[in-house]
Subunit: 396 residues, 2 copies
């Protein structure tokens, strides 16, 4: 196990009816800036419930935060927050709304010229407005971590950033708020959570048997629950467990002391920025092909994952790390099982050549060209390897 | 899954050499009160390393905190802290030292007449001195939670208490600090962590597949690592993993949304108070006999635990919750596997009749008589059931 520091002060409030704890967790004096995408929380009654819970406190609204939230949109939110003198930000939505709210929280007290430098890390986030979350779309895990991803145009870019100042004070997770989600979003969230765990698990072994088992526990629970919720979308118990899995997948716990990868995410971010793909769907088209390309270095974990989560047999417990026909076959069968899992979610595992044309591909590869020293736990995923992975996913 | 709130702001700093992060995590101005048992941190060099890391800051020492720390001892610590005007408490030791430090932290600012009422909960812990931990004996999990247990004589009593004010600000976990532990303490810590998980896992099922798998992951890792560390006590990687398991066993995460038991602990506390047994050893003599007595209600989880952790076969996955000869046999085999695990640790699974004489037993039962409405997740462990469990453990 590698040395690590784990710190996560988010108060997680889980379960149907949890919104009744909202008022006790926000400042008694407003104004509170309610940040949202807009449409969905109006339709599903969450907005009304929040306003009811906060009655008597001044609430100002900023809606219209889009998926993969854009700098320009968020700067308008900063302006609204400053003008009303917001004391607290309340994000109501999924990962994009929460990430956007984190950016607003960091930027409101920022006095420099270029807030994008808070994202690039060239300027440090020294303070931030306090924020809380009412989660309506599980997947990114942003509700229980200190990270965010925002995008900009001119130049096109999608960048992650982190700061301890950006931990939400609380996150309210009511699985009933996810009942109205279209299947595409439920499925995307499950795929996203699955890949988050894979990036922290399917790397080289440094003797982390507990973290391995926790990671496998999240993956196995997603694999168990996905067909259940597809069959019965109204099952609140299953929705709750999926919500908890997605939060646990990126609250940094399974990342403690392990070697991490994150190359699938960096490639996926470029696909989202250049081709407008859903975040989760960009991950699902990259992961299997990246695993196939890196099967030599990821074989040990793939064999273990196959055996413990997908019931893949054929290589015994000790065969994982060593090259052998058995281990190769098991690792390949595990990758196929992952693809079958995504396919069962109706999440594609191939790039659409009509969307990712040769021209778009070249722009994606242009973005990836900055990673010359190589992505992944072994820094062996060079721009040339990325091109091979993406062409394989395109069937080229 | 039941509704829950999870909040744990402890900064966990893990790994060999982590003491170099101590200074940045304590106030720049002392005095700091260093609380310890005394002997062991002098012998193993931890005291010297701490004083070196804090050079230039005023450090006052209070040592002599005994196992199952006593009110009288701790009140002397409160006196020392008040007299020196301590700004911060640093616990260096295991669960008893940390728990004792939490009591001192709560009592220093307390202005009432009877600090024991902070333990009974009749008075609320309104504020507390900040504290940090350098862990030298993994087991109780106190380094990453807000709970503590203290004892008193006249009348004899051992009581748990909790307050969010008592979370350590940080816990430094360097597995090298555990290398000098006698086997008895290493084994006790493993047994303690195992039982902590069992109390939060081996109860009735409310559809918590992720929490189940995390709990089983901790149990399986303890079962995997215990013989490794017995064979090779100097293996720092295995010691690190055991340390992480013990912390994870009681940082409340596996308790999220599940039905909990804790009757083994309450019975164990009475055995420790009346017979002076090691905390972990009191648990190990109660748990298997309590499970045998409650096999009808705990059968489902016992079958699942046996299958997933101990390789017990004989009942299929769906048989767990229902009565059947197969399921009963699997549940019984799981209890035997737990006993074999404790026995492999050289931790007894029977009460010693020379220690727990009939007179001592009667005193223990006298303490348990307050739990008339019944302990356990079904409140069916009445004082009469406790007597049956303890007599079974005595072979009577």
């Amino acid at each position: 196990m590698l040395n690590f520091t784990y710190y996560n002060p988010v108060r997680l409030i889980f379960g149907p009816g949890s919104l009744d704890k909202l008022r006790a967790n926000v400042p008694a004096e407003g104004p509170i800036l309610l940040v949202s995408g807009g449409e969905s929380i109006r339709k599903n009654g969450v907005r009304e419930a929040i306003l009811g819970a906060l009655s008597g406190i001044e609430v100002v609204e900023f809606s219209g935060v889009e998926p993969n939230p854009h700098l320009d949109t968020l700067l308008r939110g900063v302006d609204v927050a400053r003008r009303c003198g917001a004391k607290f930000l309340l994000a109501a939505g999924g990962g994009s709304v929460i990430d956007g709210t984190k950016f607003i929280a960091a930027t409101v007290p920022y006095t420099g010229d270029d807030p994008w430098q808070l994202v690039t890390g060239r300027e440090k986030i020294r303070e931030a407005l306090p924020l809380g979350v009412v989660l309506t779309l599980p997947g990114t895990g942003s509700e229980m971590n200190d990270g965010a991803v925002v995008s900009r145009l001119n130049p096109t870019d999608k960048q992650p950033f982190r700061s301890e100042k950006l931990f939400p004070k609380f996150a309210i997770l009511d699985p009933a708020f996810t009942l109205s989600l279209p299947w595409r979003y439920t499925a995307n969230g499950i795929a996203d959570a699955f890949v988050h765990v894979m990036e922290q698990y399917c790397t080289k072994d440094v003797f982390t048997p507990l973290q391995d088992r926790i990671a496998e526990g999240i993956l196995a629970t997603l694999v168990e629950c996905a067909p259940m919720i597809k069959q019965n979308p109204d099952d609140l118990a299953v929705r709750g467990e999926i919500m908890w899995c997605a939060t646990m997948a990126l609250n940094r716990l399974v990342g403690c002391g392990v070697v991490q990868d994150w190359s699938t995410h960096l490639i996926g971010h470029a696909l989202t920025a250049e081709a407008g793909m859903d975040h989760a769907r960009s991950l699902a088209v990259v992961l299997p092909w990246l695993l196939r390309d890196r099967i030599q270095t990821k074989r040990g974990k793939l064999v273990q994952l196959g055996r413990r989560v997908f019931g893949v047999t054929g290589a015994d417990a000790s065969a994982g790390a060593d090259a052998s026909a058995d281990a190769d076959a098991s690792a390949a069968a595990t990758i196929e099982a992952i693809e079958a899992f995504f396919t069962g979610l109706e999440v594609p595992v191939r790039l659409d050549p009509e969307l990712v044309t040769e021209e778009v591909l070249q722009r994606v590869l242009g973005q990836m060209s900055v990673y010359k020293k190589g992505l992944g736990e072994n820094q062996d995923i060079t721009p040339a390897v990325v091109e091979r992975i993406l062409r394989a996913s395109l069937g080229k």
